[in-house]
Symmetry: C2
Subunit: 277 residues, 2 copies
Amino acid sequence: MNTWVTENQTSGLRISFRIREILASEVSEFQRIDIYRTESHGRLMMLDDVVMLTEKDEFLYHEMIAHVPMCVHPDPKRVLVIGGGDGGTIREIARHPEVDEITIVEIDGRVVELSREYLPFVGCGFDDARVQLHVDDGIRFIQDHKDAFDVIFIDSTDPVAFAEGLFHTDFYTNVRDALRENGIMVAQTEFPLLLPDTVREIHTALKQVFPVSRMYTGYVSTYPTGLWSYAFASKGPDPLKDFKPERADRMRGTLKYYSADIHRAAFALPPFIQELV
Amino acid sequence: MNTWVTENQTSGLRISFRIREILASEVSEFQRIDIYRTESHGRLMMLDDVVMLTEKDEFLYHEMIAHVPMCVHPDPKRVLVIGGGDGGTIREIARHPEVDEITIVEIDGRVVELSREYLPFVGCGFDDARVQLHVDDGIRFIQDHKDAFDVIFIDSTDPVAFAEGLFHTDFYTNVRDALRENGIMVAQTEFPLLLPDTVREIHTALKQVFPVSRMYTGYVSTYPTGLWSYAFASKGPDPLKDFKPERADRMRGTLKYYSADIHRAAFALPPFIQELV
């Protein structure tokens, strides 16, 4: 079958997957949602024609966004995820026995429903008894919560349309105020090789709001350039000095990307990225 | 201009670049050679329709293949590059004042000529007075040289057609015998996420031939999956214990990807790669 789905990653760069089947295709209140079965990457979900995850490589992203802060915070009991409606990030967070409550605020309930139906490898994240799902706007939700969470994850789509407000100083200030003492925020922050200005702006904003602000990187093979960046910002904990490698070690044999060595390596930034932060 | 050039990275995965101009397009004795000016990645060279380098991200590959062994070998005076006819690897090797002679053996003289004409940012590598170019078959060349080089780089195309022999035990044995005491070989060894068997076979072969054999990884945004692997094999030197960070530090301000921190981080392998080696 010579049928291909293509993402225009930038105006000059495309990635295409050979597909075998269209499993779901609809337009929700917020976005276009398409789920495919591909030849080489298992199942694939696209939102507004942008790759969100593939079965083959979603572990690269979800392990790196989840475990870095979870292996640093002294006692992460109450956790909030904004976005992440596919369930992959909460699947990883749930591996940590310290966690009592996982609140997830996803704006588009159809992403959750379709993931649970067609992408069970991530949708299974919602099965954990500690998970509470709110189908709501994360920007509004965070304004209503002060001093409430230990770790907050911004697991968003790209900074356009309804997700655009998730990348600004006002939002980060509300995130900081929603964190308890020792609180940590982690966010996906796009690809430095082709979007250096976006990455620089995000980190400039974070530095104004948080006393500790660092960038780390990880491979995500199906995201633009393969070289993804994440922000680690906190009210105190340092991602290296306060790292608890025993938490990484106890997941050995379960994880495919994250480890204690990878945690430390992820904060080694190449010079061309270092100059952005 | 809505004109695109596409690489079929696997049977199920494609990458495409919007092009503005075709600068060169010919069939040499060995392969098809095409050089484009792209919208987002500057100049692009493809060999047999596979991306070899782009102006935008070639530094990721060339800095990582060149500087890792050059910052480990105790006294790298005589260096050999097999392949690498674009000039990017020798451009990086030439940054090391320890080097007296850089021998490069490229099978296809047209790659060298076209790179010097259309890709001066890498082709400039041939301008260094220490460089001696041999247009010859690397497999044959290495058989005729014993105990001759301190560092040997296998900067080849993928393991198909005339490059296939560069990935086998017989060849690695000849490379070992061409190395002097303390000699180091570095090779590009493809993408572990989608070619785990290839990567495993290469490393199994290397372990049979060399007393020290390690894998490291680096981003190459325009190669398949963005997650590239390299082999470090030696007659003695260890890539971490014998690392000389002062050599990395003296290139600070010049390099965009490699640094002492990146050197160490590159050997931190994710569990899914660790199990291949």
